[in-house]
């Protein structure tokens, strides 16, 4: 093999390229104004696994919600609707369990993730409350409810820990204290919302 042939072979590795969407996103994150958040860890936002999980949950939650609010025509469609809901709720539960595992592994959070989680929990609760009206779905709905609570709890915990490590002004300190109080009372959604507020307050 000549030097030229060898070098040509090595040059094939030039085909390695990063994902285009990641390149664009990273540039935006790097050069955006720096007043976004005290706890903003933009690395986490760029992780496709997290983005896809949250999108997956939202899509599943949307399907469940549409199915629940759609009026049924007859008994046959009620049965098949319940079956579909059963499958959709199971999927939603699985997605939430996976995302909870990811959130635990992230060991840190960002305002955008917190907002995504808060919105997922809020919409998920609407779905769960609707599903609980159907006795056949009640236990599954409880399971999803637990996953949603777990998601809010873990994210709130990480958000509070991040805020504690940050330099906070007076308003933020008050909000952090409130978030901790909610957390200790087991009101994880409220705790998360206070943490979001604290991370955005100047």
């Amino acid at each position: 093999m000549t030097n030229w042939q060898l070098i040509s072979k090595i040059k094939k590795l030039r085909k390695i390229k990063p994902r285009k969407d990641w390149v664009v996103l990273l540039k935006e994150r790097l050069l955006e104004e720096e007043d976004t958040s005290l706890v903003f860890d933009w690395n986490l936002i760029l992780k496709p696994i997290f983005v896809f999980s949250v999108i997956g949950i939202m899509i599943t939650a949307g399907i469940v919600f549409i199915s629940l609010t759609k009026p049924s025509q007859d008994n046959i469609s009620v049965n098949s609707q319940t079956e579909n809901l059963n499958v959709a709720l199971k999927n939603l539960g699985n997605e939430l369990a996976k995302t909870n595992a990811i959130i635990k592994e992230l060991n840190g959070t960002s305002t955008n993730i917190m907002k995504n989680v808060a919105s997922t929990v809020e919409k998920g609760k609407i779905v769960v409350n609707e599903a609980k009206k159907y006795p056949i779905l009640a236990s599954l709905a409880d399971e999803v409810d637990n996953n949603l609570n777990e998601m809010a709890k873990e994210t709130a915990k990480q958000a509070i820990e991040s805020l504690k490590k940050s330099i906070l002004n007076e308003n933020q300190t008050v909000l952090l204290k409130e978030a901790e109080e909610y957390y200790n009372k087991g009101e994880y959604e409220n705790a998360l919302n206070e943490a979001i507020e604290a991370s955005q307050t100047k």
Binding site: N3, L13, R14, I16, P18, W42, P48
Partner: protein, 167 residues
């Protein structure tokens, strides 16, 4: 600030693929390569902001690759892993190729990556920087803190060793 951003944007666009490629060849996954590359540019942007206008754009390449090397070293230190060029092929490249092209290219990739991974670390760096990323001997000399002459000689020796590995 707007002017600085524009300047750094040009540096980013020029080097993001090269830094990613350099990192990717050293770690085992595209996700880790993305994380480490992000860190490289974050640190680069911090330095650029603080030192502008004294930061010399022509030194950007050396500076970014030096950060990349240090991020890779930190990654392996934290994970207590041995640092080599990754030979995993399963999560390779986002290439738009037909299946035939893709198959032949993938086998070439695996072969050459494996051969490079068997070289000493500094030889790996030189080969990747020179022939994969197309940097000049002068740039490589700055990154590796050696003279251009030493790089020329070492590259010659590394190519010879690589050829033997491929036989």
């Amino acid at each position: 600030m707007k002017k600085f951003k524009k300047q750094f944007e040009r540096i980013y666009e020029k080097y993001v693929d090269k830094i990613y490629r350099f990192v990717f060849l050293k770690v085992s996954s595209s996700e880790i390569a993305e994380d480490l590359t992000s860190q490289v540019f974050l640190r680069g942007w911090d330095k650029f902001k603080k030192q502008n206008p004294t930061f010399q754009i022509q030194n950007a390449s050396a500076y970014l690759f030096q950060i990349a090397r240090s991020e890779i070293a930190n990654h392996y230190r934290e994970k207590s892993k041995i640092q080599t060029i990754s030979t995993e092929s399963k999560e390779l490249f986002d290439l738009q190729l037909n299946p035939e092209e893709s198959q032949s290219l993938t086998s070439d990739f695996i072969e050459i990556r494996k051969a490079i991974s068997l070289l000493p670390e500094e030889s790996q760096n030189m080969i990747v920087l020179r022939y994969v990323n197309g940097l000049s001997n002068r740039e490589i000399a700055k990154i590796l803190d050696k003279s251009e002459g030493a790089i020329r000689v070492a590259l010659h020796r590394s190519l010879k060793e690589l050829r033997e590995r491929l036989l």
